[in-house]
Symmetry: C2
Subunit: 495 residues, 2 copies
């Protein structure tokens, strides 16, 4: 294998020559724990022995993988769009056919197989604008501000990419909540922007504290140029739902400090607590008056992946972007055009979510029943998760007001912390690895989302079926008690 | 609208504060000509008068938008996967049902709505590996090296992203053909890599000349670190098909100079000239012996968007990556995992393309007929395009051996060149704008793909129906003759 001058040909791409920004990226939701869970799962299938018979994956918000059934109407529309010969079949209801015809008329050659415009199919963007107006009780929405995306992640990365510039102290800073969904930190690493952490208040149900925003902003100003504030509402991984007052404060802050606002609202349909209500950042901005509504730059993100449909695999989503400078808007469209368009079947799925059957239409009853069943079960599981976790000594869980996750705080004994440190892993990573190995439960350590130093958490989804979730929580409780005991007894000889 | 200190709130994101790398991106396939074509189209619909009654878009390889019908079998499988209740219906053939069942069994919860693994659905990756082995007459393919992607563009950008590092003279250089598909230059701009142009030989049917590769490499070494060579075969926009000898030379060169090879083979099914044959870079590498096959890092890209299916909207694709360092591979999977997964319906479409009906299966005849009809018509149109264009004085068109485009050289009179310069636009842009305004034909100027200085071209697709393409070519001929006359007569007074 001798190359030029008789040398061996070496790899051109090694860890030493890899893009350092790629190296810096971390994404715990699919990190080492999940890889290990996959290995164990394959082992079980091949007859390997473990102290459990199945792996329960509560690491990722993947509803269908956990057994949730698709919404029939949505899939009917997508199937009709995919194979329009079915439009002549009597097995599909008329309202599904009407939706499919409308979508296909918006596609080049009336085919899902054509590229759409870079911003998405026109009529789908129009449907989204109508949906937003209804959601926000009449606040005007212009479909020119709507962009279909490949899931919400794609939109978030595109907007961040626009905003990153400068070097050294003028490098763009991006304010993100801690704990956060690690797409944000990963994108910030990849773009070499500056991550500015603002900590959510765990003692106050993970509420956003405006004083903490000011603190984080002032501290960051010393070493970068804060340009964006990201909010996740309802919260991921923290499950809180923001109050209207809190949103007003954030928007006022963004107005004063000239920040671009990115509001990740993919869980807008996932609110369970009767005391909470989803308020869109846009509606609150509108109600603050024209000096806010006509000036603050706001991008809001939604998705087909969450809510009651849980259609992650379709990679559908949209963003609405307000008050974008017109020349900048042309640049955004140009940037999106390089990737041509978001998947058109995902756009179709998004259309059904914003344009579901109406009460007088044939599919309404079934649709309504399916939607209520999903959201009802989630609400029940949200409550059950909080309740059972809070019976465990050394675990403290805030109410799961919305989204799909609990992010409980776990007490890890000092000896366990020491042991993890000596292994070079974070204590909650060690905890989650042990949990996986002993019970088959796959969770994500809190360190993958960020947490105050010296505190430990994990994120678990509430997506397993009620029955399976109960088993999971009980196994978790038993594991935790055993874990505490083990490390407590280990400490005894030291006394 | 007074903000802090009574100042007006300014935009936080303006052309001055926009990411300069975004500003630098250019993507002509959806550039200003296409925007203008859209405006004219809307105008026509609203009753505006133009010297034509329809816009013919020959700017983008979007088969279905130009009237090509989907492959029935592919759409049947996707519809079955989307709405599995149809598996009980007698209107679908058994082989389509079998494919759909297999795909669904590979999906979490047997649903297209689940996230797949970051590399894609396992059984689809296995099918792709089998397809590649058959295509390459037994050269081994390991499904561990296969990654599903969101169209080929997504894979290309991911691999490039891994390879970009260093500053100043050690900044990564990326060798690309000129003319090129502008995804490459756009991605290079966005990542601030160094673009290294190697010119294809227009006088020799756009062949790749190994001496030109050496020239470009040696010149670039002075100011950057060349790390990658990109090849597009069959060529976009140039339509040539590379000879086996030429591929061997490129691979030998990459071996010697320790370059990572990216071969864009999305047009592998689009070869029309009876004298040409598609040779995959992988197969040629294999035949060069183990010292090549076991060392050269090669990423090859394919897509659902081209070939005979033309399913652009599904955003399906895959890449096969050979000889990747194992640690680097884990980094690539990590990077992909941040975006979770490619659209699963696009993965399903990709599966059908690599796993079409077999001769003994019920859908074989119809599938074969539809596939042959598409490829036969394209071959006919490729020949017709070359022939008619070469009858026009001042236009010279190489054979369209493959892909979906002609890239003819056009003579632009010096007075027209001067006029364009005075307008601050490239002469071929002026030419294409005039063509659009006078005839409704939408092409992309050669300057959007790169061309030798002082030469002018345009790219046109051969995708309109045979009838419409003939009309297009005749209108184009008349326009060109008129254009030449107009600027020739303008020059007379100068003599």
């Amino acid at each position: 294998m001798a190359g030029k001058n008789g040398k061996m040909r070496e790899k051109s791409l090694t860890m030493d020559t890899l893009n350092p920004q790629v190296k810096a990226v971390e994404y715990a939701v699919r990190g080492p724990i999940v890889t290990k869970a996959g290995d164990i799962e394959r082992g079980l299938q091949q007859g390997q022995k473990h102290p459990f018979t199945e792996v329960i994956k509560a690491n990722i918000g993947d509803s269908h993988a956990m057994g949730q059934k698709p919404i029939t109407f949505l899939r009917q529309v997508v199937a009709l769009c995919s194979f329009p010969e079915l439009l002549d079949s009597s097995i599909f209801p008329d309202d599904a056919k009407q939706r499919a015809r409308r979508i296909l008329q918006g596609c080049g050659g009336q085919s899902l197989g054509s590229y759409s415009a870079s911003q998405g199919v026109d009529c789908i963007r129009q449907d989204i604008a109508v949906y937003i107006e209804q959601r926000d009780k009449g606040v005007p929405a212009d479909w020119d501000n709507i962009y279909l995306t490949t899931g919400a992640s794609d939109g978030i990365v595109s907007i961040l990419k626009m905003l990153v510039s400068g070097q050294g102290r003028s490098r763009s800073g991006v304010m993100i909540p801690i704990p956060q969904y690690p797409l944000y930190s990963a994108a910030i690493s990849e773009m070499e922007a500056v991550q500015i952490n603002y900590y959510l208040d765990e003692d106050n149900c993970w509420a956003l504290d405006i004083n903490e925003l000011h603190r984080a902003y002032q501290a960051a100003k010393e070493h970068c140029h804060p340009r964006v504030i990201c909010i996740i509402n309802p919260g991921n991984p923290t499950g809180q739902v923001q109050s209207k007052k809190c949103i007003e404060e954030v928007l006022h802050f963004a107005y004063e400090e000239n920040l671009f606002v990115m509001s990740d609202e993919v869980y807008q349909d996932n609110v369970y607590s009767p005391d909470c209500q989803f308020h869109s950042f846009k509606k609150v901005l509108y109600e603050m008056g024209p000096e806010y509504f006509n000036t603050v730059e706001l991008a809001s993100f939604h998705s087909t992946s969450k809510g009651y449909s849980g259609e992650c695999g379709f990679r559908g989503g949209y963003m609405e972007v307000l008050n974008l400078d017109l020349e900048v808007k042309a640049q955004l469209v140009k940037l999106l055009s390089v990737r041509l368009c978001p998947p058109v079947s995902g756009q179709a799925a998004m259309d059904v979510i914003v344009n579901p059957p109406l009460p007088h239409e044939p599919s309404y009853l079934q649709f309504h029943k399916e939607k209520s069943a999903v959201l009802g079960a989630l609400a029940e599981k949200a409550q059950m998760t909080e309740q059972i976790l809070n019976t465990v000594p050394g675990i403290k869980c805030n109410p799961v007001q919305g989204a799909m996750y609990a992010f409980p705080r776990i007490f890890i004994p000092p000896r366990a912390v020491e042991e993890a440190m000596s292994l070079g892993i974070s204590p909650d990573m060690m905890y989650c690895l042990r949990l996986l190995e002993e019970t088959g439960i796959c969770l994500v350590p809190g360190s993958g989302f960020g947490q105050r130093e010296g505190t430990y958490h994990f994120r678990m989804t509430i997506l397993p079926t009620t029955e399976k979730l109960k088993v999971l929580l009980e196994k978790l409780r038993d594991f935790h008690i055993k874990f505490l005991k083990e490390y407590a007894s280990l400490e005894e000889p030291k006394r």
